[in-house]
Symmetry: D2
Subunit: 336 residues, 4 copies
C-alpha cells in the first residue's frame, strides 16, 4: 500500500527502504532535503512539505511519524489540519504512552485514526526486520496489516515456539497489544527490560575483567577494605573472547551479547567509550509504571540508576557521605 513517512533519520529511512523492497509505495518528507532526495533516488516519492506529502497520498491516507518524542506534538499540530476523516496517523517513535492516549482522543474527535507503534530493531532493522508493538482501535490497526507485515521480521526469523498452539501475528514479529497507548507501553517496558539485560551483561564482563585485582597492591590503611584472598583474583581473562563464546549454546545467548562481542572484537578495551550512558526516557517511565503498579522491579530499576551513576549524577550524595565520615570518624577523603 501507499504510506507517508515523516522523519527520515536512521530508523525512518530504513523503514522506507524495507517497505519499498517489498513493493509498497512511500511518500517521504524530512526537514533535511538531502535525505528526501536520497530516498527519492532509491524510489520513494519525495515531498517538500507536510502539505505536499498529504496531497501525494491516496485516501484514506496513512502517515507514519518517525520522529524524536519531543517533535511529535508540533508535527501533529501542523499535520492534523491537513488530514480528512478516516485518515490514519501512526506514531512509530518512542512517545510516552500517555501522550498517545491524549492524542488518540483528540484525533478521534476529528474522525481521524491514531495508531501508536513501538519499533525495535535499531540500525539493523533494514535487514533483520523490526519488532512492532502496536496500540489503537482494531479496525485502524487491521487496515495497516500489510505495512506491519512487511516491516516485521517474519515467521522464519526464529524457530517456532514448541508449545505454541495459538494463531495471531506475534510469530511474525508484530503484535496489536491493545487500545491507544498499549503499543508504546509495551515498547517502553521492552526498553526497560533492555536496560536490565544490558546492565547484567556489562557488569558480568566487568567482573571478569577485574578478576586480576589480586595482582595489584591495595593500600593498607583504615580507609581501604583489604582484599582477603588476593590469590583468588589472579586471572587475566580476555573478555572479548568470553563474549564471543557466550554467543553459542549458553543460557545468556542474546542479540545484546552478539553486539558486545562485536564491539569488543573491534576494541577489547572499548576505546572511544568514556562510559557516560544516556537514558532516553523509556527506562524512567518503566520504573515509574512499576512503582504506580506496586510491582517490585529491582533489576530494571538498578539498571536505570546505574546509568545515572555513570554520568556522575551522585556527586552531592557522595560528598555528603564523605562529609559524614569525616564528622564521626575524622576520616579524610581519599583522592583518586
Amino acid at each position: 500500500m501507499k504510506l507517508g513517512m515523516v522523519g527520515l533519520g536512521r530508523m525512518g529511512a530504513n523503514l522506507v527502504r524495507r517497505l519499498m523492497r517489498d513493493g509498497h509505495q512511500c511518500v517521504v518528507h524530512d526537514l533535511n532535503e538531502e535525505t528526501v532526495r536520497e530516498l527519492a533516488r532509491e524510489g520513494a516519492i519525495g515531498a517538500t512539505s507536510l502539505e505536499d506529502l498529504v496531497a501525494k497520498l491516496d485516501k484514506p491516507r496513512a502517515v507514519w511519524l518517525m520522529l524524536p518524542a519531543a517533535v511529535v506534538q508540533p508535527t501533529l499540530d501542523e499535520l492534523v489540519p491537513l488530514l480528512e476523516p478516516d485518515d490514519t496517523v501512526i506514531d512509530g517513535g518512542n512517545s510516552f504512552y500517555r501522550d498517545d492516549m491524549a492524542r488518540a482522543k483528540r484525533l478521534a474527535a476529528l474522525q481521524l485514526h491514531y495508531v501508536d507503534c513501538g519499533t525495535s530493531g535499531g540500525v539493523w532493522g533494514l535487514d533483520r526486520g523490526y519488532c512492532l508493538m502496536i496500540g489503537g482501535e482494531g479496525a485502524a490497526v487491521r487496515r495497516l496489516d500489510p505495512v506491519f507485515r512487511t516491516i516485521a521480521p517474519g515467521r522464519g526469523s526464529a524457530e517456532p515456539t514448541p508449545s505454541r498452539t495459538r494463531n495471531g501475528t506475534a510469530p511474525d514479529g508484530y503484535l496489536h497489544c491493545g487500545p491507544s497507548g498499549a503499543g508504546h507501553f509495551v515498547k517502553m517496558v521492552h526498553n526497560g527490560v533492555e536496560y536490565g539485560m544490558m546492565g547484567a551483561i556489562a557488569e558480568g564482563l566487568s567482573i571478569i575483567r577485574h578478576a586480576n585485582v589480586g595482582k595489584k597492591g591495595r593500600a593498607i590503611d583504615a580507609e581501604t577494605a583489604p582484599l582477603r584472598d588476593p590469590e583468588a583474583y589472579q586471572y587475566d581473562i580476555d573478555v572479548a573472547e568470553v563474549a564471543e563464546v557466550w554467543r553459542r549454546g549458553s543460557v545468556v545467548g542474546s542479540w545484546l551479547v552478539d553486539l558486545i562481542a562485536d564491539a569488543l572484537a573491534r576494541s577489547p578495551q572499548l576505546d572511544g567509550f568514556e562510559g557516560r550512558v544516556s537514558d532516553s526516557g523509556e527506562g524512567r517511565w518503566t520504573v515509574d509504571a512499576a512503582i504506580d503498579e506496586s510491582v517490585p522491579a529491582p533489576v530494571i530499576t538498578s539498571a536505570l540508576i546505574e546509568r545515572f551513576e555513570s554520568r556522575g549524577l551522585g556527586q552531592f550524595t557522595d560528598a555528603a557521605l564523605s562529609a559524614m565520615r569525616s564528622e564521626f570518624g575524622g576520616h579524610a577523603e581519599k583522592r583518586g
Copy 2:
C-alpha cells in the same frame, strides 16, 4: 577419543550421547545402575565402579565428572588413588572456582592434570551443543580439544561476529579462559549475568501484566498509596503474545525470551509455578566476587536478592519495619 563420564544425570547423560554421536567412545558410571544400563544400550561402555571405569580407559586417561558440587570432593577422594601420572580429571559441573584451584594443586603434586569446565546449555544441549568455559594448564586443555569441539555448538550455530579478525575457538563455542579455576570463574559470572537477564525479563512481563491495576479499586486510607492516574492503567495485555513477539527483531531477543515464550504458550498464568526461586550458588559467588573486586554490580546483585525475597526470607526484616511504623505512627499492619 575415549572418555570416562562419572555422573549420568540430565547433563552427564546428554554429554555422553553428544560425544557418541560424533564418534567418541565413552566409559560411563553412575550410582544409579539403570542409567548406566540405558546408556550402555545406546552404545556406551558401562562401568560398575570407579575402579572398573578407570580400568576400561586408555592411558593417559581422561575422566569427566558431571556431579552436584557437593559430591565432587568425595568422588575425587575415591577416584584419585586409582589414577596414574598424566591422567586428567575434568570437573564439568558447577564447582566453586576456588575449590578448583585447591584441587588442581593437589592433583599436580601427584602428576595428575585437573581441568575445570563450566558447561552451559541445560536440557537443550544435546541438540544445540553446550557452551564451554575451560580452566587449567594449556597442555592438558589442548589434549582434550576433540572432546570440547564435539560438545560445543560449533561455528555454524550463530552468525559470525562482523568485526572479528582473531583466530581461536571461541566462535566454536568453547574457550580456554585461563589457569585452574578460570573456567568455573567465567561460568560463575555467566550464571550471575543469567540471573540479571532473567530478572529483567520477568519484571518487564510483570509490569505489562499489571498494566490493568487502574481497573481495580485501591483502599483509600492512610496506609495505602493512592494510584494517581488510574485511567493510565487500564490495559489487559496478553503477556504470552508479548513474549512471543519479542523473539523476533527486538533488542531483547534472547534464548531466555524464547524459553519464557514457550512457558507462557503452555500456560499464560504460569500455572504450577508458585514463585519460590532457588539459587544454586553461582549467583551468590558472583556477587561476592564483585564485592571483592569493588566492582559495582547492582543489577546482578538485585537479581540475587529478588530470589531471596521470592522465598519469603525477608520476613523478620519486614516485621521490624511494621513494628517501627506501629511505634512512631500507630500504624496497624494491613493484613493480606
Copy 3:
C-alpha cells in the same frame, strides 16, 4: 492565636492539645462528633460543621487541615466558599506537593492564602513536638509563626549544632522551605529518607538474628546454594539487646533505633507483625522525584521496593523466573 483545626485523628487532636497547652485557642471540627466533644472537654471550641468553625474564628482566619491526602480536596471544595479574602488554609497532612502548587494558585485567585506544612513526629509529637517543613508565600507563613513555634519541639530539644552561625528557625524545629509545595516536597523526601533508614536498621537486625544459620542443615541438592562455612554462623544473638545497646554512643543512634528497641523489648520475636509493610505515597513520590531529577537514589529506592516485596507483589515475576529455570534446566521449583 486562634486557629481552626479540621481533622482530629491522632495527629490533629494532639496538635490541638499542644497548641492549647501553650495558650492558643483552637476551634475544632471532625466528622466524628465524639472526638469534637472530647477536645471541647479539654478546652477547645467545638464546631459542628465547617460553617460553624469558620464562624467561630477571628478574621483573618487560619484553618489547619489535618486529613488523609485523599480527603483534602473535597474538604477544600466545601471550605473555600466559606472563607474571605486574607484568610489562610494550612494543609498539615501528607499531600502531594504538586497538588499544593495547584491549590495555592486557585486560592490565590480568591485572595486566600495557602500554606503547606509537612508534619513529622507521629504519635509522640504531643510531648516531643513536631518537626515542621513549610511551604508558601513569606507573609502568610510569617503570620503563622506563633503557631509553628508552639507546635515545633523548640531549640532545647537537641544540642546546638557546633559549627552553626546562622540565624533562622531551623534550630527551633520548623523551617519555611520555599514557595508553595516546598514544605510537602521536603516532607516527602524526609519520608523517603525514613524508608531507607528503616530498611537499613531492619535488615541489620535480621542479619544478626540469622547469625545462627550454620546450626540448621541445608538441603544438599542442585537447587540450594550450600553454606560454605557453617561454623561461622553459630551465633544466637539477642537482637532486642543489640537494638538497646545501639541506642547509646553508636553511630546508628537514632529515634528509629529507639523505637525498634521498644518494640523488641515488648516482643523479641515481634509477635503480632506478619511483615506486610504499607507504603503511603511519599516513598513512591520521592523515588519519582529522584528519577525526574536524574539523581541516583539506590538506597531509598531499594527500601521502597523492599516494601512491595513484603506484600508479595513480585509473585508473577517470581513465577516467571521459576518457569525459565524449569525450561532451560529442568529445575523443578522447590516448595516452601
Copy 4:
C-alpha cells in the same frame, strides 16, 4: 583496674583518657613515641615496647589492642609469647569476626583469654562514651566489666526504653553479644546499618538540592530523557537548613543527621569533599553475611555499591553499556 593499651590513634588515645578520667590506670604503647609521651603527660604509664608494657601490668593482665585490622595479627604474634596463662587480650578494633574465632582458639590453647570488642563512637567518644559490642567467653568478659562500664556512655545518655523490663548492661551502652567473634559480628552489621542510613540521608539531601532542575534547560535530543514537568522542579531549597530542622522532632532524627547538619553548617556546598567514599571492610562483610544467610538486604547492599560507584569503579561496565547502545542504535556517547 589496670589496663594495657596498644595503639594510640584517635580512638586508642581517647579510650585511655576516658579510662583515666574514671580512675583506671593505663599502661600505653604505640610505635609513635610522641603519642606515648603525650599520654604519659596526661597521667598514663608509658611503655617503650610490648615487653615493657607487659612487664608494667599486674597479673592477670589485660591488654587492649586498638589497631588497624591489618596490624592486629603481627602485633599478636609479638605479644602473645610475652603473656602468661590467664592473661587477656582485647581486640577493640574492626577485625573480621572470623579472625577472632581463629585467634580465640589459638590463645585458648595457651590458656590465654581473647575478647573481641566492636567499638563505635568515633572521634566524639571521649565525651559521649563508646557503644561496645563484645564477644568471648563469659568469665573473661565479666572480669573486664569495670573497663567496659567506664568506656560506655552509661544509662543516663538516653531516655529509658519504655517497654523494657529486663536487666542487663545494654542500657549502659555495652553488651556481651555471644562467644568469640560475636562482638565484631554485631559491630560489622552495625557498620552495614550505618552505610544504609548514611546513604538514605545523603540521597534525600541530594534530591532536595536538585529540586531546581526544572530551571535548567535539558537538551532535546534522542539521547536525553526529557523532564516532563519542569514547573514542578523550581525549588531552591537550603539543604543545610533542612538538615538542621530534621534534628528536632522528626522521625529521621539521628546522630548522623546531627553530623551532616554540622558539616553543612560549615559549608553548604560541602566544599572540600570530592565525593570519593571509602569503605573499610565492614560493609562488604555485612553484605557477604547477608548473602551467606540468604537474608535479603537490598538497602545495605545498595549503600555499599553506591560507594563503589562514587569511586568510579563502574567505568568498564559503563563503557560496555555505551558500546552496546552504539552497536544497536548508532547512539554516539554524550560527553560530559
